[in-house]
Symmetry: C2
Subunit: 316 residues, 2 copies
């Protein structure tokens, strides 16, 4: 009796999961059927987001967090962002390579998400891959995001525990980002705390958090100082992650996040499906070419063109 | 005789332009009519993107670039990203404040783009605001983007000249990003060149650029070292920006970018219009609540739900 792809994935088969994820990225239709089968098996994993500007050492931190979770016999899924290079065909450097040591461990499944080449967009791919890892039975799913784009904010809302990583002394731009991500952080990490200024940054952060609006969940976001490259501070951080999970489960806050996550995933799938279909329809008979021509010559404006198309496809 | 809002904007009226942009962000319907009127007046500005990770000093660089363009009597529009803070209601810090000195100059129009609160999404807002500034008659429009998200890549494709800013010594993560943005850069800037390692970074960059695929436009992306806070290297950089523009105009490459920009703007407008309409339709009769409920209880999966909705709204 041969197992279906979905069955293999539920049993934790990494090769089967990788194949499905590749099919998702390539827009293979049958992948959707497998995702449908898997959906009922999801909702158990603890989904942890890690965000922060480039250069703060997220990869090294991830590497060490995986290590601590594995010591506690938890299985781990990891989604990291891998900016695709046209020259190297995918940049895998220093920290990335170190993290790959876990890939020989059956209990760890690492997926590198390219920033392009996703038929349905990167946000949709992330949601889909989280579901795959969840269905595989991973206890913890770590999702790395970069930057402060709308995609990141949305994915931030889709995790159970959101970790924001900063380092001392990156200047004004960091301040601006800090302000923007304060509200999404459940846990703050000051990495490279051996560099000067870690205590000052912690003090500033604490002040900003205290000045902010009271959270509805009675959780005081803790701030951890780490030196990831030396493994310093990681066990305390992991304990903090688990404390946040416990609070959510006690207070039923987990269900609220799960609902939010379901809503966001639904909209991403709907958006990518609608836009893919529209692209197909408009590509027929060279209509898209005519549209581009009319826009470039300014014979028509895009707002009027969109209204005309909307009238055709969604007349109500 | 009173002038219409569109007429005022074409005359360069900053107050009128600000009002329109506010209306765009708030999703005011009549704003679209003004955008339609303005479209025929667009297509003349030189649109310059500035991207790079946080902490490289993009704001200071922008400030100095504006200064040099103003000395040459060019009018300038600037779109900067302003991560909105729930605590401060918009973070305006150090470098940002310095740049604001230009806002008393009639020839400069600066708009701070919040990362949230755009009814149609940040990418669509950016396209719309570029059109407004273009219609105002700005010679140069500088657009700052942050991070490496899909939105950024798309906006990068919509500019005439794309500047990538780096600094020496930000570690592995920077390397990964560098690989990802190499292909979108028409011009590279190594800022804070007074810090050690600028020459080494320039050498590395040059090597990577030479190893890469030949560009179709015969343009060799130049690398400029700057120390923006001291104004060092800025005039050469601005000369490079203008050289890129001249080449594009000579070879008719400008039209290709214009067409690409029109295509991207069209898709963003279509996407946000379709999704807004869908959101309205699904919110009726509590259908959206029922969908979320079915997803959370795993009674249904999102893929099946999306198929059902697609069948209803786009049956063909």
């Amino acid at each position: 009796l041969r197992m279906s792809l979905a069955e293999k994935i539920v049993k934790g088969d990494i090769k089967a999961a990788s194949r499905l994820i590749r099919d998702i990225d390539d827009g293979v239709e049958s992948a959707i059927d497998v995702l449908k089968e898997l959906y009922v098996m999801t909702g158990r994993a603890h989904i942890v987001g890690i965000t922060g500007p480039p250069g703060v050492g997220k990869s090294t931190l991830l590497d060490k967090i995986i290590e601590v979770f594995r010591k506690e016999m938890k299985t781990v899924g990891v989604i990291v962002v891998d900016p695709t290079s046209p020259f190297s065909g995918g940049a895998i450097l220093g920290d990335r390579i170190r993290m790959q040591r876990h890939s020989t461990d059956e209990g760890v499944f690492i997926h590198s998400l390219a920033t392009r080449g996703h038929v349905g967009g990167i946000a949709r791919s992330t949601h889909d891959i989280i579901k795959v890892m969840d269905a595989m039975g991973k206890d913890i799913i770590l999702v790395e995001t970069v930057g402060v784009g709308q995609d990141e904010v949305d994915i931030g809302n889709a995790v159970d525990t959101s970790i924001v990583v900063l380092v001392p002394g990156l200047g004004d731009d960091i301040q601006a980002i800090k302000a923007g991500i304060l509200e999404i952080g459940d846990i703050f990490v000051i990495n490279k705390c051996d560099h000067g200024g870690a205590d000052k940054l912690e003090q500033e952060l604490r002040m900003m958090l205290e000045m902010g609006a009271k959270r509805g969940d009675n959780w005081q976001p803790p701030i951890y100082q780490t030196e990831a490259s030396m493994g310093k501070g990681i066990e305390k951080l992991v304990a903090g992650i688990q404390r946040h999970r416990n609070l959510q489960q006690q207070k039923g806050l987990y269900q609220r996040r799960e609902r939010e996550r379901a809503r966001l995933a639904f909209w991403e799938i709907l958006k990518s499906s609608v836009m893919t279909k529209l692209q197909q329809q408009l590509s027929l008979n060279g209509e898209l070419d005519r549209i581009e021509e009319a826009l470039t010559t300014r014979e028509k404006d895009p707002y009027t063109l969109v209204e005309e198309i909307m009238q055709k496809i969604m007349p109500r």
